[in-house]
Structure formats: structure tokens, C-alpha cells
Point group: C2
Chain length 494, copies 2
Amino acid sequence: MVTGRGDSGKLEWKVDIPGGKSETLVPESGFVCRIWRGLRGLVEGFLLKIWRFLEKAWGIGVDEPRKLVHCLKVGLALSAVSLFYYMRPLYDGVGGNAMWAVMTVVVVFEYTVGATLSKSINRIAATFLAGSLGIGIHWVASQSGERFEPIILGFSVFILAAVATFSRFVPSVKARFDYGASIFILTFSLVSVSGYRVEKLVGLAHNRLSTIAIGTSLCIIISMLFCPIWAGDELHSLITRNLEKLSDSLNGCVAEYFHQNGTVDSGGEDCSKKLRGYKCVLNSKATEDSMANFAIWEPAHGNFNFRHPWKQYLKLGASMRYCACCIEALNGCLDTEVEAPEFLKEHLQDVCMILSSCSSNVLKELMITMKTMRRSSKIHFFVGEMNSAVKDLQNGMKSLPTMLSVPPPDTVKGKPGTKTTIPPLMEVLPLATLVSLLIEIAARIEAIVNNIDELACLAEFKPAKDDKPKQNQSTITPISDDQDHETMTAIQKV
Amino acid sequence: MVTGRGDSGKLEWKVDIPGGKSETLVPESGFVCRIWRGLRGLVEGFLLKIWRFLEKAWGIGVDEPRKLVHCLKVGLALSAVSLFYYMRPLYDGVGGNAMWAVMTVVVVFEYTVGATLSKSINRIAATFLAGSLGIGIHWVASQSGERFEPIILGFSVFILAAVATFSRFVPSVKARFDYGASIFILTFSLVSVSGYRVEKLVGLAHNRLSTIAIGTSLCIIISMLFCPIWAGDELHSLITRNLEKLSDSLNGCVAEYFHQNGTVDSGGEDCSKKLRGYKCVLNSKATEDSMANFAIWEPAHGNFNFRHPWKQYLKLGASMRYCACCIEALNGCLDTEVEAPEFLKEHLQDVCMILSSCSSNVLKELMITMKTMRRSSKIHFFVGEMNSAVKDLQNGMKSLPTMLSVPPPDTVKGKPGTKTTIPPLMEVLPLATLVSLLIEIAARIEAIVNNIDELACLAEFKPAKDDKPKQNQSTITPISDDQDHETMTAIQKV
């Protein structure tokens, strides 16, 4: 039985349970209270979201303080140009020239110097071109009588806008003049449909162009003088970092397979991050492309000349992705449950580890070459070492089945059971794949070496220091402690 | 001997050669002629460049006529808005509201509806937000006396510009509100430093906002009504095409290895293009990301609801790239000179070809699922087929060494030479890699299947048609009809 009002006079629910006891269901909290809770939950959720966002932003700021510097630079440029025009409003504030200067700064100021330069030059050139053309068309239209004027204007806007828009689809235009095309359309439409007479327009255009020039020069000066961030530098160091990541991933991957837990697991999260480094390489195409496009606009800076072969970096990046693909496949194939027989693993472990560390060495040496922009005197030695490690591995494989299949003479007749030492191919599969992919990776690393050689020629890297590699005599694998020491000090000098 | 002036009175050079004959060096062509040639060369080179550019542009237009349509749409929108404001100049033409309408159309009109919508909404929201904030700050500054006014204004511009610029580095903001942030900075600076009184500003802001609204609505209407190009559609068909490319590449790759020249070479260039299809998959990340970002803004269209799970497409794309990586490695590994022994190749050819064609079938079926947006009744059957092909291949490998190593009884004593039938592991290497990578690819294809299953759930694909697959009887690995029926009903329950 359910009763409506309890002793206290408040609304409460009693439920008589057949067993005899009656329970009181007190409304836990009033209506207002519930709303309050709901609201509090909403606000808390919102605050939490904002908090997370701030945390993320803080992380970005801490990781890359240069981004913070860029923001301050934008703020500086913008308040400078704003205040300049605020203090001495040449025209009427909004709508006058001040606007164009402010707008130019907002739109043109980019993270890298190259991007800023590219946009600035695009903006000025496109404004000039479209302005002249617009004034011309405007004049033609105004001469042709009131009836034809709107037709000529509308038609010319239509045609030029369509053509300029289409040109943005052509990859070469898209890469360099995308912004210019859009500014061209904008300026042309504005000028050609404006209601002014041509004489006044010329004056206006002159003013506008000079304002834009002031805005862009301010941007260029600030972006080049205060902590400049060069697209070329970024591209160069991206490639350098990626070389290191490839090297780390390769080494880590192979070591993990052979359960070198001592070296792999000790690093914990940091180490698994290193293992996955190749994924960054796989995903860096878009960044490389845009950086190379911006770098072309940059003047000589640091070690880079004006005509530094930035295109070569794209080829280099492609060959690195090509190599990263193999590491990715390797990583996948080693994750199978099929375990190769222990003795086989042991037989091949050394040669595999040597090959992977030789390959890593080549990549590390390439990284040093890129970092110092100095040809390496040792790279060909390292490549030779890598190639002979490949040979060793191949020989190791060749000797393998004979070793396994020829049973000791006395067992031939009596115990054919020893035949079981021959592992079924299935069990060898991951190992064989590892070997095959390692060999393939070595080949792809050689392609990277060639690309960097080519880059060194084109960019005129400094000649190698004359510390001749003395490792020649003892090529293949046994790197003696002495030699190793030499290499180490060479690296440390760098 | 060299003489200066010849008989004709013209300058010419005679060289007396010791042998007795004298030769006359007539200047081949005059100075003017050479300049003429140089100029002609330049002009011809320039024309050739333009010609090539036009050819390329023509190619793009022919390949993707929708891009042409887009250009016409831009031209239409722009001449419409220009003429509208030209006919009835609400203010003073340039600098007045017409400018903002034209500018809005130029900047906001993008290739896909999603991009246009995203930019429009960003622009309106950011203008409104920044305008209100700017007017507020402007009022505060104007109340605080002439001395503090520029300080407050400059400082607020600095802070807000820096913060907004920084927010663009946060990936989630960058993906959706990049344009909004830049418009925010622009509007805020313009409003806060303008020389107007607050009352006039409010009126101006109102006008400006409505002009922008008119511009954006024109863009949205034109982009949605005339041959709309939906980012969602593009993304969906990109993924669908990529599935097909993966399928073709995989099949072609394996067939090429086994020298199925009949099927591979006959296609010629077209076929090698098909073989390299996986490269497109590897490089499509950037496009997928941006399309998914734009698609989020799109209203329901065609088969896609407003809240279509576009994020899932990114996961799907990632798993496809993951698979493409393996195909890329496969392609590399098969290019070695090491030839597996013919009999081994023959032994494995069938199982390998079956596995690759089963895998291709799964991919093709997935493609059909995506294309029709209808759950497939056969996909689980195909996956089962693929998995049993994997098992077959593994069994084939397992049986291999026994088959090879146990010599016929009578040869054990007499002819140990028959041992040579055991191929050295080295020769088996490419084949083993092929097998291993094929198995890995099958695993990765299953990941794709799972991703598409998930997508089908989230996007509520149409249920499967009830046409039972009749291929059951003619499979490689006899899945009995009963089992198949079980699978089928299981699927239908799901």
C-alpha cells in the first residue's frame, strides 16, 4: 500500500512490502537542488573542458617556445601598425588606409619567414597587377556608354574570377601563387566595380598600394629581425630529426624481436616512443611539401644560400618514407605468435643485430652529415660495412639448411628421428621475413645515402674533414674497441 | 697571317694556314640578327611554357569537369554580388559595404560546400564576437581619458592578437576555427582602433555584419544549389576508390611475382598504374583530414545524415594506409634477383594466388559495401574464405620441409645427393617474405573490415539484401553449406 503524506507533514512515499516492513522513500533532494546540481555539472564540465584546453595549449607552449615568440611578434606588429594609424589617422580610420595596413598585417604575418615573404610578394604583385587591369577595364567600360558599362564589368569580373580560380587548381600555381590568385580576384572586382572616376581611382590605388607595402614591410622586418623562424631551417631539421627517428626505430624494432629486454624495456615509455618514431616519418609529407614551398622564397640565411636545392629535400623525404614503410611492415610481421625455434634465432641473432646496427650507423652518420652540413669521410665506410653485413647475413642463411639437414653420419641409418631438427618453413617464417626486410631496408638506406650525396653536391656541403677512416683494414663486423672509440670521439667532436 | 679588311671592303678575317690555303671567316650573322634570334628564342621559350601550362590546365579540366563548374560558380557569385552593389551603391562603392560583400565572396567561396559553410560560419561568428568585444574595449578606453586610451587599446590588441594567434597552434582549433581566429584578430583590431564614437560604431558594425551575412548566404546558396560538391561525398568516394586501388595493387603485385604475364603485361601502362595504386593510398592522409574537417559542417545530403561519423573515416583511412605500407614492402621485397627454386614456387603459387585473390575479394566487397552503403551479406563469408586461405598457406608451408627433406627410403643409404632438393633458406627468402607479408596483409585487411563494420553501425548502413552467396559450393576450402548458413544467420542477427 502506498500512502501519500507522512507524519512530518511533508510529502513522502511509503511502500508496504508484503513481508510486513514498510520503507520510506524520502525525495533525496528538492527540485531546485536538482537543477542546481545539473547546472553545476554543466559548468564543471565546461570548466574542465577549458582547463584541458589550457593544459594542452600550455604543453604546446612549453614544447615549442618559438610558437609563443611568434604570437608575441604578431601582437607586436599588429599593435604597432594599429597605434601608428590610430595616432595619425591619415584618412577616416575604418574604411581608409589604416584598414588596409591592419588587414595586411593580420593576413600576411605567418609562422615562418618564407611564408610571410611569399604572402607579401604575392599580395603586392597581385594587387598591382589586378589594380592596373581593373583600372583599364573600368576605363574601357566607362567609355562604352551607360548601357554597356555593367555588361562589360560583369562579364570581365566573371571571366577573370573563373580563370583565376581555375589557375588555383594547377599544382604549380597552387603551391606558389594560391594567395596571389585570390588577392587578384579580390582587387580586380573591387576596382572594376567601384563607382569612382578613373583619375580618382589611380590616386586611390597608389595610396592603397603604398599602405600595403608599409604593412608588408613591417611584417617582413619583424619576422626577420626578432627570432626569425626560417622555413628552410625547419625543413632541414625536420629531415635531420626524421633520420634519427628512423635509426632509433630500426634498432629498437630488431632488438625487441630478439628480446634484448635489457636495452628495450628499461627505457619504458620513452623507448616505445622511440620505437614508433618511424610513424612520424610516414606522416611528414604534407609538412615537408609546404616547408619546401616556403623555403624557396627565403633569402640566404645561416648555411643556406638563396638557391639552396630545396626540391632535393622532397626527394630525400620520399626515400625516407619509402624506408619507413619497410620498418612499419617489419614491425607488423614481428608481432605474430609464431615463434622461430630458439637455436635458429640464436644462429641468426648476431648477424641480424649487426646488420641493423650497421644500418642504424649509416642513418646516424647521415644525420650528422645533415646537421653539420659537412660531407662525411666515414659514410662510405659505413655503407661498406652495412653491405658486408648484408652479405654475412645472406651467407648465414645459405649455410643454414646444410647445417640443419645433414645429420651426423651415424644417425642416418639408426635414428631418422633427428630429422626433426629441420624446422618446418612455417616456423622460420617470421625470421625469414625479418632477414628479407632487413636486407630491403639496407637497400633503401642506400637510396637515402645517394639522395643525400646528391644534396651535398647541389648544396655544396663543406668537404669532409681529413680524418681518414682507419677502419678499412678490418671491414666486416668486428669493430675493435679502439676503432669504436675513434668513431665515438669523432661524433662527440661534432 | 691575319688581315683585317678584304676585297669587298667589308670587315672580314683571313687566316693563312701554314699549308698554303687561306680561309675566310665570314661573320655568320649580323649583330641585329643575333639579338633577333635570342629574342625569338626567349619568346618561343615563354610561349612554350605557357602552352605547356595551358595543356596541363586543359588536362585538369577534362579529368575533373567539376572543377570547371566550381570556377564558373565563383565567377557567377562574384559578378552577381559586384553588379548588385554596383547598381545600387549603398555607400561609396569601394570602402563602403560593397567592399565587404565582394571580399566575403572572394574569401569564403570554396570548392566544397563544407569548406564554404565552415568559412562562412567562422567569419560571421568571429566578426560578431570580435566586433562586440572591440566596441566594449573601445568604450572602456574612451572613458579612461586621452592619456590612457592608446595604452589600453594597444595593450588589448597586443594581448588578444597574441592569444588568438596562439590558439591557432592548438590542433583542434586549427582544424575547425583557424579562419575564425584570423578574422577575429582582424575585426577586433579594426574596431578597437577606429576613430569613431561608440554609437556610430554600433551602427557601422550592424551594417557590416548584415553585408557579410548577405555575401555568405549568396555563397552558400550558389554552392549548394548549382552542382553542389560535398566534402563528405568526396571523402566517401576517395575511401571507396582507395579500397579498389588497394585490391588491384595487391592482386597485381602477387601475379607479377609469379610471372602471370598473361594477365599483367597485357594491360601495359594502364596495368602498371594499377599496380602502383597503393601509393595514392599512402599519400591521401592530408586530403582525408581536410575533407573530414569540412564534412562535419555539412547538412544532411544524399545518404549522409548531419551527424554522419566522419571521424570514423579517418580511422578507416589510417588502417588502409597501414595495409598499403605492407603492399609497398611486398613490392620492394619481390624485386630482388634471388629467384626461389621453380618447384617451390609452383608448390606455393596456387595457395598464394588464392590468398591474394581472396584478400582482393574482401577489399572489393568492402568497396561495394561503401559504394552502396548497404551492409554486405557476403563479407563475412569472404573473410572466412580469406582466413581459411591463410590457414591453407600456413599448412602448405608446414608440409613443405617434410616433403622436401624426407628422401625416398631407397636413397637414404645410396644417394645422399638427393639431399640437394632442400633449398638453402636463402633461396626461399623472397617466397617466405611473400607468404609472411601476405598473411600480414590479410590481418590488416581484417582490421579494415572491422573499421567498416563499425562505420556501418555508426552510420546505420542499410541492412544486407537477402541474396545468399551461391559461391559456397565452389570454394577452395570447403566451408560446408551448414557452416555458411550459420555464419549468415549470425550476421543477420547482428
